[in-house]
Symmetry: C2
């Protein structure tokens, strides 16, 4: 397990081989073993292998090639639909159409996804998360016929890796772990935390290619600029409300 | 790993033994190996072992005994503070103060938490998630001196288990996994999905004790009633806004 966790990389090149149904089922079942609020399992996994549907998902996920290539596509959803339908059939009035339960269901769906990721990797499969599920959730909802009470929170492609992927670096542990209370980092702390990342060969190449002074500018101006953040923020919020979560 | 995933239980009784620092560090480092958006690591882990602070956290988490007992308490936070401070120091204008990035940071913090959970369990430790981090996030923020740009999303207690905990059941896989597209469950599907749960001895005892006709009523009237959901929903939303995420 430690080995699986520490060997994780996001795989972006896949072989055509399908994932065997029995293996896939055991990976999905591993997902459901994650902790969840009140054992209510307010989440759903939509497993898409059909090529036409995957072409649609490819569009929704900004045409990333791996979405076409990987034989399995999983859309993890916050889902109060099933639980509410059960309440309706059992003389109980469901009351989970609010922000707290959107967050609760979001949390539980993500916990499932990480179990799925690790179980898949343990079995020799590769995965890559797609945060773009939040960006174009409305498109995915149309495509996968997702009903009210259900919202995509993250997606994942899965299959047999077709390339070696290098391990990516992380900030030093001291940057993300706070002892006892939150320790607000000072100027020198920030410099220290980001020093290795900023002086790596990859960063220097990126600065050259993008003609930027700092790596931070590549994030704020190229990768995740304000206009896009605000656009997708509004879109996702509208989608969540449209799906029946009241704020 | 499969074994660790399939053996997971929420441990609610702990021995007094502290968790060795080296072990704890490796468990936390396992957390950081999880996938994260743009490798920006917009999360923080606050690791609290101090008894006085843990007493405060015990209050914030509705006085659950395990919070007093377990030697380690981890508060997982969505955190754009560090990344934004870095941008500010690097001629870049941070632009992550919105709902999309709250959700992104939320997702990434939860992924970290599940790696931490599994790495801890693999090492013989027990954990229990506390969803109540969302319920009283404002209280936790005060106690742990959490700055703007940072919001608790989930908490976890950790330590050496002091009791055997039975494995909890899950709905059949067909209830939570949809093939190709979302398949809206019909009346008979819902009955089938919940049948084992509803006829279990534990459920029959709960109905007797709570004098309810159905298990669903125990959820909607006792465990997670509307007034509480709506109260904590409003509180959490206000806290997120106060911490600087704009909607």
């Amino acid at each position: 397990m430690y080995n699986t966790i520490f060997s994780h990389r996001s795989v972006r090149k896949y072989k055509k081989n399908p994932v065997e149904q029995q293996l896939l089922d055991s990976v999905l079942e591993a997902g459901t073993r994650a902790s969840n609020t009140g054992n209510m399992q307010v989440y759903s996994l939509i497993v898409t292998t059909d090529e036409t549907l995957r072409s649609g998902l490819y569009e929704a996920h900004f045409k990333q090639n791996m979405v076409l290539e990987a034989p399995v596509h999983i859309t993890f959803c916050a889902d109060i639909h099933r639980f509410s339908a059960w309440c309706d059939q059992r003389e109980a009035t469901p009351c989970y159409d609010n922000f707290l339960w959107f967050c609760t269901a979001f949390c539980d769906a993500i916990l499932v996804s990480q179990n799925v990721a690790l179980a898949a990797e343990e079995a020799g499969l590769g995965i890559c998360y797609l945060g773009t599920a939040m960006y174009n959730a409305d498109h995915i909802i149309d495509l996968l016929e997702i009903p009210k009470g259900v919202v995509p929170v993250v997606s994942m492609v899965m299959g047999y890796p077709d390339a070696e992927t290098p391990l990516t670096d992380r900030l030093p542990l001291e940057a993300v772990v706070h002892h006892e209370k939150y320790q607000v980092p000072g100027y020198a702390d920030i410099n220290r935390f980001y020093s290795d990342l900023e002086t790596s060969r990859q960063t220097l190449e990126l600065l050259e290619i993008n003609k930027k002074n700092t790596l931070a500018q590549i994030f704020t101006e190229n990768r995740y600029p304000r206009e896009a953040n605000e656009l997708f923020s509004r879109k996702y919020l509208e989608t969540i409300k449209k799906q029946g979560f009241l704020f």
